[in-house]
Symmetry: C2
Subunit: 303 residues, 2 copies
């Protein structure tokens, strides 16, 4: 938001809110500078003392409290009561359906889910989801708002738990836990299988279009005929949920520690951001996908 | 292989083998040129008339026949009989265990799975898997061979069907089929959810290290405590395999056609390659992951 000159008020009851926010903003501004985006005319960022103060005069209120339905309900009720009647209210939830979130609100027609992805200051995607009572106008407004903020809003037309991206992520996460649980691979080996292989494909083309190419001139129908039967092969553990035993958690935490070596969380985040900046710039150069979103943001800034 | 000056003999009984090979090599050389790799001193590529002719004097034989166990068995038996006794034999299978592949071979100790990823001329990953009878020397030799060819060999220490990467890909594929089957999203929307979001992360950092950052200073243990319980949420269809009905196949094929618009398979492949070249160059610039493999290949070429 700040990149588009929007002033932001933040309410966060955590005593370390300012410190965390400062650290994130340093990384965000560094990444934007590296992308050559204008960071000299950004909006203000102010920490305030209450939901009411944060919402006063707001056009868009983004709720990002922990993923517990009771906390979501009380927070959304407070936002609904405090925000101007024409404000759009968006939840960052990665799992709850907007219909289930809206039950505590007097004006549920203005609630949407707007689910972004970390690091939110670099990844363009935001999933926009409406509930039973969300108005079509609110969906349109959310799509337009996030587009004008320089992101890539994707309208999830039917609400389901976890929406689209997190359903796919959850599938990989479960399978990855099985691989560690069964001693097939370590966290580092699994990460390498991703980033040296299909992860590179997915930065620029999704699973269906990639497989369309694999099908050759016969396209997707040929691919499905050729590889569809593999679905029936008994090679996956997906039918079951791995038990999150203390032992499995210890194994993963220890392997992850070994994988990180002496790189702190901050080091890793900065390494990630530097890589993402390079990838986004490269994709802008060839005019593809996320690179187009970046080019769009750049043109919004200069207009 | 050709990039490292290795001469390759190909046996492929298909009448269009030469045509297909020529088309792929044009794209491959274009991509290598764009990466600034030396393509003026590449090895020769010759189509020959039999397995025996292809294997004569070979140091490495790569089997890439269709994924049917009976065809794999007969082909590997023929290769085993024809190849020099000190040749390494590698299967490109994406699913079968090497132990199950080796049953027709007189010298199973020299068989490894070496599973590459499309486009093989750009993606560094190759999964190296040994079976019950594979010798440790053959594993070492495979790791060294593919490294010298400029790829990123990953030793899968325990053989399982589909190894590591395809287990993860299979998980995403199933979940994606559910999303289409249930009318939640189209093939294009699912692809966009990938390439504008987590796909960008995975081009440079895998799922575990990404989540480690999300866990903050508490690292992986904190992340598991916070998000582990979501595993129990009933939001996924993964417990079941979608029925590949004609209707579902039609839906996917039609959506994929609409998504591709007037772009042919060749157009899509060239778009993909141009994007991958840009991403790989960018990652080489920041010295990360697949970019390191590319830098390594460049230094192998100039040494």
């Amino acid at each position: 938001m700040r990149l588009r000159g929007v002033d932001v008020a933040v309410y966060d009851p955590s005593p370390s809110a300012q410190e965390i926010l400062d650290a994130v903003m340093i990384d965000a501004v560094a990444a934007w500078d590296a992308l050559g985006l204008a960071t000299d005319q950004v909006g203000t960022l102010t920490i305030v003392d209450s939901i009411a103060e944060a919402d006063s005069g707001a056009g868009l209120v983004q709720e990002s409290v922990p993923e517990r339905l009771d906390i979501k309900h009380s927070t959304l009720a407070a936002i609904d009561a405090a925000a101007p009647v024409d404000a759009l209210i968006a939840s960052s939830t990665s799992g709850y359906k907007p219909t289930d979130l809206a039950t505590s609100m007097g004006h549920p027609e203005r609630l949407v889910v707007a689910h972004p992805f970390n690091p939110v200051y670099l990844l363009p995607l935001v999933e926009i989801v409406g509930g039973d009572q969300t108005s079509l106008g609110s969906i349109d407004r959310a799509m337009e708002t996030y587009r004008l903020l320089g992101m890539h809003p994707l309208h999830v037309r039917k609400e389901i738990d976890a929406f689209i991206a997190d359903r796919l992520l959850e599938a990989v996460w479960r399978e990855a836990l099985w691989l560690v649980n069964d001693g097939i691979a370590t966290t580092e080996e699994i990460d390498d299988a991703i980033r040296y292989g299909f992860g590179l494909r997915w930065a620029q083309m999704g699973t269906f279009e990639t497989y369309r190419i694999a099908g050759g001139e016969g396209g997707m129908r040929h691919f499905m005929a050729q590889f569809g039967p593999a679905l029936k092969w008994p090679w996956t553990k997906l039918m079951d949920t791995p038990e999150l035993t203390d032992e499995l958690i210890d194994t993963i935490a220890d392997q992850s520690d070994a994988q990180a070596g002496d790189r702190s969380i901050r080091d890793l985040a900065q390494e990630r951001d530097r890589n993402l900046v390079a990838i986004l710039s490269a994709l802008e150069g060839v005019g593809s996908g996320a690179g187009q979103t970046l080019a769009n943001l750049r043109s919004l800034q200069s207009s």
